[in-house]
Symmetry: D2
Subunit: 301 residues, 4 copies
């Protein structure tokens, strides 16, 4: 099976039922391409129709985008027109990084003035942070252990405090900064199985822990009974896969178009050439060289 | 310290700042009596101002209601006028059972037609179930192991299916009933430390687990990583202490007044006499005799 | 063009892309049959994709259901399976009456204990009232001038007070009943161009006026500046066409299946025979004989 | 009666019940100072307890802030501590301009990527625009007829398009810019009695018109029946007075503290001296000299 679920491409051929796209269109390809005419979509969770996460089809249920020709199911519902003035390379960040990061912030229902912590400053975490900032967060506690990442978060995306978890536990630092009150919202884009509980330990009563992290191992995600205030503290725990689809892609693309959001600071590594270049990009993602956040490969024909 | 946090009483004396109550008024006394002029109240969580659950003052921070004379802080904010036509004994259920049970249902955001499971058919669970029914639930899966309680749930409050957890795990039975889809909302008013996880195992993607249970022991509430769909399944976990206060008491009291809700089926045991009778009520609550749900003691002067 | 947008039928033939329905299935046909793979659907307003109200296709953009054979666009998205145990005749009410009435109540965000007024006790208004009751309304003020309709509203659907607008203005009566406070929510399923304003005159600050009425004449719907509190009173005015679609049909059908809702009281007139019987039904709808609410015609082959 | 409802001051004396403020504290004084221990506050509308808008007490129900000594009811609930690093003059904008403007944006429920129109670029309108921008709006259509105001809106607060209503009707211009779709949200901070209707004419189905404008004359606010899609177009009309109170003041103040919001661009005119200077400020507000937006008077003792 081909890998890859992020990309921008050109329409080569359209199916008989496609109405809004034609050969030659430059399109945003979302990572999540669900069946929009489904019960799940009608109740607001297209990404989980036919089973949890089943809207994530590329490289799970069908070939991914690292191929010369790829197939998009329901093109009218799942492709986005690239708006005028948006850079091709930037637009690749819409497929997953922007939409997933923003989903994390939106899921937390950030309000103007909120104090928000963001855990994990990889590309998704930085976009969650950018989303929180764009939704009006005031203080933003950026949790990671790599100073370079915090520099990006602070300089470009509104982070106000660096929480270096290698120096002291996150909850200790956040409680200190908030004088014991806790953050209003905590966005999780990294961390181990104890991160939800750790977040509850420094969350205000009435706050939200919003996760978009993939938990890849461990039987359980334990929530400390006391940190969760014996079950009665109004500390809401959410976790979700980003929605995909055309409406969302085109809406978020307008943030790039109007310069309200820039993704250039997270695209630290650029490659250009044949498909072979992807191997280098994957190697970087595995090894994480200094000052690496996210690579983009421009395929030449 | 005096015990007790549920009651209906008569106003004997009012403080200098009290405007809306006077000697002789019959009043509903909510279990939760927060400080309404507080930051917590202004942001919608009065019950947690000055610390988690700190709005629950009776028998925690001040004497409870099992006394001849009791003090109510902020009487205008914390007492409710008993509406005409509402029975004194019934009204005692407003203090905690109705408001807590309904909070469980409201926190889950029940929508007309939802399929709802309710765990634990004690008096709070039955009121959560009644609340779910009153908010438009269609199928209601009542989870307990005591057939008598299910009879009450079915006959009076809209339960449609009995999930006897002594026969098979809850999640197995609910998945079977919903053909693998899961319940839309799961209300928790009982169960051990694994109940949140068990609920996630039979919850639809996009659903809510809403807890009002007090978890009294155990270090952690473990959430199965797989049942929580590796963090990305939109299975929201909430838990909260009921709000208190006058507006809520008087609003919910109207459901008794208009006969939209009856609490007579849960008041299985009646006592009348001096304060000594309370000992008997407490003994019943501990020993749970057959067909016991909730006692009320009418104190005679 | 054929008329008609409410019905239950049998599947005669399915298109090549249809997966969930087959010949012989008995199906609920919603009045609103939008294109589910559209931008409008993705942003939550399928009924308005391709223009306001454009999801209402039957007898507007395509032939309606008063025909031997009818075509359903996107059958998987727009038909509903009739659940076991639901009467065929009752199920016809799902197409429009139930879904529109309930949309009116849902749009108003009814909360347990709310005091709700419902304007116009035709079949949609009665279903709005039933919806409000099912969502937990306490006092329900039923506004009409026909005592028989109120009898139905009171006996079957939870209305608590009759507001006969032929005797005194609605707002005067509601303000009197609520001691000057106003209703929490006002549902509009009838009335002239001044009804929104009249509703604002007896609505609590923070309340909602929810309209599903079709306003058929007049240039403007004037809102009294003073009744709307000079623009600053938090009196929200909403109006909308019901969503359609399979998920909603099957979800609401469960309320019939579980007997949480009965529509028999509104189906006052039954006809059985050939298509010619429809003329009689339409004549009744125009002339409104005594004790008439809604007719159903059962077509025999 | 003294006038004035915006200000920052010093605490001279505290009442016996005040806990969180002491002599010498520098405090933000909100325009809206409701009774927080009231039924209205408990149901989320403190500003309307004891009648619509009755939480607006200064110069309505009690002396305003243009006085040497002023009284604050419920100081703990109604004053805000000025956070470290926030300029005194800037902070005056919190009392009304920021909180009212942001309420307009929050009431509209702006989502990242929304296309938002803002009507009226006075100081409240500019803060509504800043709020919309801070909540993630992409395109922002700034509606006014004074180019200088648009310059401020564009340069400092994220406006992307100038809609000069002196050249063509607002709805024509917005429909053209959005290719017939309409804006997602329209914020009203100016305009005559027809502005709600004009807004509905260029609003997407599913959108919100959010008003904070005081309508001072005219019997009615007419809504065009066709622009409101015959009652069924899901065009929600909201209007409200900002909430006040300490929690909100301190939360919004953090946006100034963290430099996420600057109000310097709207404070175009500064005065310093005795109370007599206020006359000059009021004269400017009436006459609106060139490049005038908002004056602040610093009173010297």
């Amino acid at each position: 099976m081909f890998l890859g679920h992020e990309g921008v491409g050109e329409v080569l051929q359209v199916g008989a039922l496609v109405q809004d796209f034609k050969e030659g269109d430059i399109v945003i390809i979302p990572a999540i391409t669900p069946d929009w005419s489904s019960l799940g979509a009608q109740r607001g969770y297209a990404q989980h129709d036919h089973g949890a996460l089943a809207g994530w089809k590329f490289s799970n249920f069908k070939d991914g985008v690292f191929a010369e020709k790829i197939h998009i199911n329901d093109a009218d519902g799942n492709l986005g027109h690239l708006p005028e003035g948006v850079d091709l390379v930037d637009a690749v960040m819409l497929s997953d990084m922007i939409t997933t990061g923003f989903h994390c912030a939106e899921q937390a229902n950030i309000k103007p003035g909120d104090r928000v912590a963001v855990v994990g400053l990889g590309p998704v975490g930085l976009m969650a942070l950018a989303g929180a900032n764009l939704m009006g967060a005031s203080e933003i506690y950026a949790v990671d252990c790599v100073p370079f990442r915090y520099e990006v978060a602070h300089k470009h995306y509104g982070a106000t405090h660096f929480i270096d978890f290698s120096k002291a536990p996150m909850h200790t630092q956040i409680l200190e900064l908030t004088k014991g009150v806790g953050a209003d919202k905590i966005l999780i884009a990294g961390g181990g199985t104890d991160i939800l509980s750790e977040a509850c330990s420094c969350l205000i009563n009435g706050g939200v822990v919003s996760n978009v992290n993939y938990f890849g191992s461990g039987a359980n995600l334990p929530i400390s009974r006391m940190a969760w205030d014996v079950g009665m503290g109004h500390k809401t725990i959410k976790g979700g896969l980003t929605p995909g689809g055309r409406a969302r892609m085109e809406k978020l693309a307008r943030l790039l178009q109007t310069k309200k959001l820039s993704v250039k600071p997270i695209i630290t590594h650029h490659l250009e050439g044949k498909f072979e270049e992807i191997a280098q990009a994957l190697a970087w993602m595995k090894d994480k060289p200094a000052n690496f956040i996210k690579p983009v490969v421009k395929i030449k024909w």
